[in-house]
Amino acid sequence: MSSTFLNKELPIILIFVTGVIMIVSYFVSAPEIYLDPLAGNLSQAASLIAAYATILGIVTLAIIHVNHIIKRTKGQWYYSIIVLALALLMIVVGFIGELGTHPYFIWLYQYPLIALDTTIYSLLAFYIVSAAFRAFKVRSVEALILVVSGIFVMLMNAPVGAAIWSGFPVIGNWVMTVPNTSGFRGFIIGAAIGAIAIGLRVLLGKEKGVLGRS
């Protein structure tokens, strides 16, 4: 088999056939001709493939950091040792007993990992305040509407709003359920139509990124 067939035509055929089966199975029920069980099996196969793709991330990480250590990359190689050592620790502890259930694994997840993750996440609180101070300037009518509605929604969200005036939650709720919902509905419809277009391009093999950029 030529390399073009393996790299281009065969993947397109596979994508098209599996894609059509999954789309048709959503609208048509045909258990007697094995359509429904086939669609179910394909879904499970996709889950399995995705699970194996996780391993790819770990392998890539290991290759990059081992390269840094071997080349003694300035300002980096000692951090690479730490990264690999901690990754190895989590993997080894995770394999003790049933996968990922050992108390040591849960401890490592709950204390260092969660603390570090939430620390980075909590930076957003500070960034939001400084961004709001800097950017929420009433330069136009639209900006004024943005600032006023934002304040009403914030005061709806915080108990202090209802304590100051009972109207804040009412107006804030209206902003959320009427203009906000209308705007997001437009986005959702646009995104859904975009997904249909992407789906068709992938099925027909016209989506460049799927098969590589050559």
Binding site: F27, S29, A50, D117, A131, G194, I196, A197, L200, G209
Partner: protein, 270 residues
């Protein structure tokens, strides 16, 4: 609904099936028209127009450009956002040609290892196109900050990078999560000119507030199509616009019919 033999159309999904087939047909027609030469015109996008300006600014100040195609992978849970990543990679082609032309250092940060070969290939092609293939090794750097249990490792990696290299231009096109605001705000602190684009609805407001230019929602796909001049993609964007018009007419028609007492919803639920 029996459609013959051993197959039955599932009740409640028939209208959806018809709408999907019509949508496919419209998009296919416009894609084919574009391939045959009738390429639709995409309106100007301020964010896209500003990219050369931001890279020129980086060249003047002697500071680097930072680019990221987003924080979603091609498989698993984030596979649904792959199209945004591809749009980001298309714009990277354009950005890297400009950085090659103006001899500006380029940092590309990635959250998924599977993007590395693609990005390296894009950089090689762009720099070769500009006649400077040897500059890929000296003027570009691809940095991988892997996603773990959350995007925090990627966010902290990029924040640290910004503190060290102080980019003059920060371009972020693709799917983003909570790190969007953190990176954009840090970029502002470093004095970078920032152009961002995402179709992740709850990150768009953060980009609008923190960046100089924002490509909102589907504009990133249009931007990707414009810079790559991918005819099927340009054609499908026009097809999508036609489907949006049909949807708007359905919304208006449905609103009128419902208020006249005609149960339009039952057609949609057919």
């Amino acid at each position: 609904m029996d459609i013959g033999g051993k197959m039955q159309l599932i009740a409640g999904r028939i209208f959806g099936a018809v709408f999907l087939l019509i949508s496919f047909l419209i998009i296919y027609i416009y894609m084919t028209k574009a391939v045959k030469g009738s390429v639709p015109k995409i309106r100007k996008m301020a964010g896209l127009e500003a990219i050369p300006e931001s890279i020129g600014r980086a060249a003047e100040t002697g500071r680097p450009v930072h680019y990221t195609p987003g924080t979603a992978g091609f498989s698993g849970a984030t596979a649904g956002f792959a199209a945004q990543t591809f749009a980001g990679l298309s714009v990277l082609t354009y950005v890297s040609r400009l950085t090659a032309k103006y001899k500006v250092p380029l940092y590309v940060t990635l959250a998924y290892g599977e993007h590395i070969p693609l990005v390296e290939s894009i950089l090689r092609e762009s720099y070769t196109f500009e006649g400077r293939p040897e500059a890929v090794a000296t003027e570009t750097k691809v940095l991988y900050f892997p996603i773990a249990t959350s995007n925090a490792p990627y966010a902290s990696g990029v924040l640290g990078l910004f503190e060290r290299v102080k980019p003059a231009s920060n371009i972020m096109i693709g799917p983003f999560y909570f790190e969007a605001l953190a990176i954009a705000e840090q970029g502002f602190i470093e004095g970078a000119m920032q152009i961002a684009g995402t179709a992740m609805t709850y990150q768009i407001p953060f980009f609008v507030v923190a960046c100089d230019y924002t490509l909102i929602g589907e504009e990133i796909f249009a931007a990707g199509a414009v810079v790559s001049q991918d005819k099927p993609l340009l054609g499908s964007i026009a097809g999508q616009d036609i489907i949006k018009i049909i949807t708007i007419l359905m919304l208006l028609g449905g609103f009128i019919l419902q208020n006249l007492g005609i149960d339009f919803l039952s057609i949609l639920k057919f």
